[in-house]
Amino acid sequence: MIALLLLITIPILGAGIAFALRNNKKRPWILVPVAIFHTAMVSWFWLSDSFPTLGPWLLLDSMGKIVLGLISVLFLGASLYAVGYLRQRSERNNRIFVASLLFFLSAVTVVTLSHHFGLLWVSLEATTLASAPLLYFNHNQRSLEATWKYLIICSVGIALALLGTFFLAVSETAAGPVENPLFLPTMLHHSSSFSVPWLRASFIFLLVGYGTKMGLAPMHTWKPDAYGEAPGLVGFLLSGVLTSCAFLALFRVLQVCQAAQQADFARPLFILIGLLSMGVAAVFMVGQQDYKRMLAYSSVEHMGILTLGLGLGGLAIYGALLHLLSNGLAKGVLFLTAGNIHRHYGSKSVSSIQGVFRRLPVSGVLFMAGFIAITGSPPFGIFVSEFTILRSAMSDGRWTVVALFLGFLALIFVGMGRIVLSMTLGEPAGNQPQRGVEGATRAPVIEPWLTILTPCLLLVSVFLLGIYIPSWLDRSLQVAAALVGGHR
C-alpha cells in the first residue's frame, strides 16, 4: 500500500533535503513536518484499525503497530526538542546530524514492518549505522571513543545475529526446500518440520546478537559509554526507540520458538539474561559518579525487565509490552532533562552539581519526577507494568525470581535516589561569579520552551498510562501479547 511506502520514503526524502540545505539555523525545522507526517500516518493506522502491507515482506501486525506507534510518538517529541537543542548548539554544523536522524526514523520504521528475518537484520544494522554519526556530534575525544566502541561492539553483535539468521534458515529448510524461507507467517505455519538443534543454536546467536543491540548484560558494555557521551537527545532516541526495535526482534524470535514448541528452551534463557541485566545495573548504579552513565545503567535494567517479562510468559508478556511503552516515555523525560542540566552546568559529574531545583526549576522538577516514574513508584505507568510482571511471577510460584526482582529494584531505587537527590537539592554552587549582595541566590534560569515541552508531555503521558489504560490500547496489547502466548 502507498501509505507504507510514504512512511518509509518521506523521512529519507527529508534526509536528502537536510543534506542539501546550507542554512544551519533553518535545517532542524525539517525534522518537525516529517515527524508530524509520520505520526499522523501512524495514528491513522490506529484509528482506522488497518493493517497495511507493502510488497512481499513488509506488513504491519499488532505487535509492529505498538512499537511503530511508540517510536513515532517518541520521534515527534525528539524532533521538537532537537529544534531547541540545535538552536543552542548553533556553532556546530548539524547537516549530518539532522540527515542521520531522519534516516534513522526510516530504518526503524522498516524494522517494525519487516516480517522477513533477513530484512529485519538489514534494517537493524542500518539503524546502527544511522546512529553512529549521532553519537559523535560533539567531535571530542570522549565521544569518538564512545562511538568506536559502540560501532565495533554492536557490529560484532549484529554479525552474530546474521549467523543466527542463517542458522534459522538451515533449521527451516532441513526437511526440504520451502517456499519463501525466513518469512515469518510461513514459518509459523510449517514450524513442526524445523530441525530442533539448528533452531536452538539459532536462538542462542539471535539472543546474543539482538541482545547486544538491546544492551542486555553481559553485552551491555557499549551502553554507558555511548549514552554518557552522546547528547541527551540521542541517548533518548537510543534508549527509547532503538532498544524497542531490538526488543521487537527478540519478540519475533520468540514467536518462531513458540510455534516450533521450543518456548521451554527459550524462556529460561530470557529469564536468566533478564535478571542478570537487572543485577549488573544495580551493582553499577550504586556508587555511580556520572548521572548520564546512571541513566545508561537504568536502561540496562529496564531492558532486563522486558526480557524477564518475555521469559515469564502469560500475564508477564502483557506487562512487558506495557513496560515497553512506559519505559520509552519515562526515559525521554530523564534523558532530555539530563541534557538540559548538562548544558547548563557543563559537567556530568554528580559531585559538582547541586541545587538544580533552584537553578533550573522546570528541568529539576521534571528530572525528579522522571526518577520517581522510572523507579516504579505509583502513580506512574512503570509501576503498573512492573507490578503486572511481578504478579505473573508470583502466580507461577517463581519465588526466587520475585525475590531477586524486588531486591534489584530496591537497590536501584536507593542508588539512583542518592544521585538524584544530591543533584536537585541544596544550594547551587557559586562557581560562576555573582553580582550583587554576597550570599544572594542567583535567579532561576528561564529555559527555552522547546527543550521543556517534550519532557513535560512525555511525563504527562507516562502518568496517564499509570492511572488509566484506554480500552483500545488494552485490546491491542492483549492481541499482541497473544502472539507469543501471553494473556491478560
Partner: protein, 214 residues
C-alpha cells in the same frame, strides 16, 4: 569442479593465517581483499553447473565490494593517517598463528558434530566458514590498531558470508544485496571514524581509547 572449490576454500584459510601472522598493514589489507575475491568466486562453482544470472550477479557484487571497494577504502584510510605496521598486539604473532591453527581444528570439530543439510557440495565449506569467523573474532580481540580491528570485523563477516553460501538457493538476492550494502556502509563509517580518531588522538591505537570507565 569440486577440486576448484576445495582450492578456493583452502586459500581462504591461508589468507586468514596470513592476516594473523603479518606485521605490515598493507599485507593484511591485501590478504583480506584476496579472501573477498575467493569468496566472491565461490558461489559460481559451488552448485555445479546450475548457473543462473542471480549467481553471477551476486559474485560480481561480492568481488567488487570485498575485493576492491572496501580494500581501496582501507588503503586510503591508512595512507591518510600514515600508519604502517601493527605494533605490540595483545598476543604475539607466532602465538596468534598457533591459536589460528587451533581454531581451524575447532572449526572442523564443531562442524562434524552438526547435522548438516545433505545438498552441500563441499565438506570443507562449513569448517572453513566457522574457523574464519573465529579467527576474525581473535583479531578483533587481540590487535591494538583500529584498522586491524576493522579487518577482524571483515573476516568475521566473510566467515558468516561463507556459511550463508549453503543457503544461496533459499535466500532471496535482495537480502544478500542488503547485507552486503550494510557491511560496506559499516566499513565506510568505520573508515571515516578512523580519520576523526587519528585527528583527535594523534594515534590509531586502541589503547588510547580508555578514557571512559565505570
Amino acid at each position: 569442479m569440486d577440486h576448484l572449490v576445495q582450492i578456493i576454500l583452502i586459500s581462504v584459510i591461508l589468507t586468514n593465517l596470513a592476516i594473523l601472522g603479518s606485521h605490515p598493514l598493507n599485507t593484511c589489507i591485501r590478504a583480506v581483499a584476496l579472501q573477498g575475491v575467493a569468496l566472491g568466486v565461490l558461489p559460481i562453482f559451488l552448485h555445479g553447473r546450475e548457473w543462473s544470472y542471480h549467481t553471477f550477479l551476486i559474485s560480481f557484487m561480492i568481488i567488487g565490494l570485498k575485493g576492491f571497494l572496501i580494500p581501496t577504502l582501507l588503503f586510503r584510510a591508512i595512507r591518510d593517517v600514515a600508519v604502517r605496521k601493527e605494533q605490540d598486539p595483545l598476543i604475539g604473532f607466532t602465538a596468534s598463528l598457533l591459536l589460528g591453527g587451533g581454531l581451524v581444528g575447532l572449526g572442523f570439530a564443531v562442524s562434524s558434530g552438526l547435522p548438516l543439510p545433505a545438498e552441500i557440495k563441499s565438506s570443507l565449506l562449513v569448517p572453513v566458514a566457522l574457523s574464519t569467523l573465529m579467527m576474525g573474532l581473535l583479531v578483533i580481540v587481540t590487535r591494538a590498531k583500529i584498522l586491524t580491528q576493522t579487518l577482524g570485523y571483515l573476516m568475521l563477516e566473510n566467515g558468516i558470508f561463507a556459511f550463508g553460501l549453503i543457503l544461496t538457493k533459499e535466500l532471496p538476492w535482495l537480502i544478500e544485496m542488503g547485507v552486503s550494502l550494510d557491511i560496506f556502509a559499516g566499513i565506510f563509517v568505520m573508515g571515516t571514524l578512523m580519520g576523526h580518531i587519528h585527528e583527535e588522538f594523534n594515534s590509531l591505537s586502541v589503547r588510547k581509547l580508555s578514557n571512559l570507565k565505570g
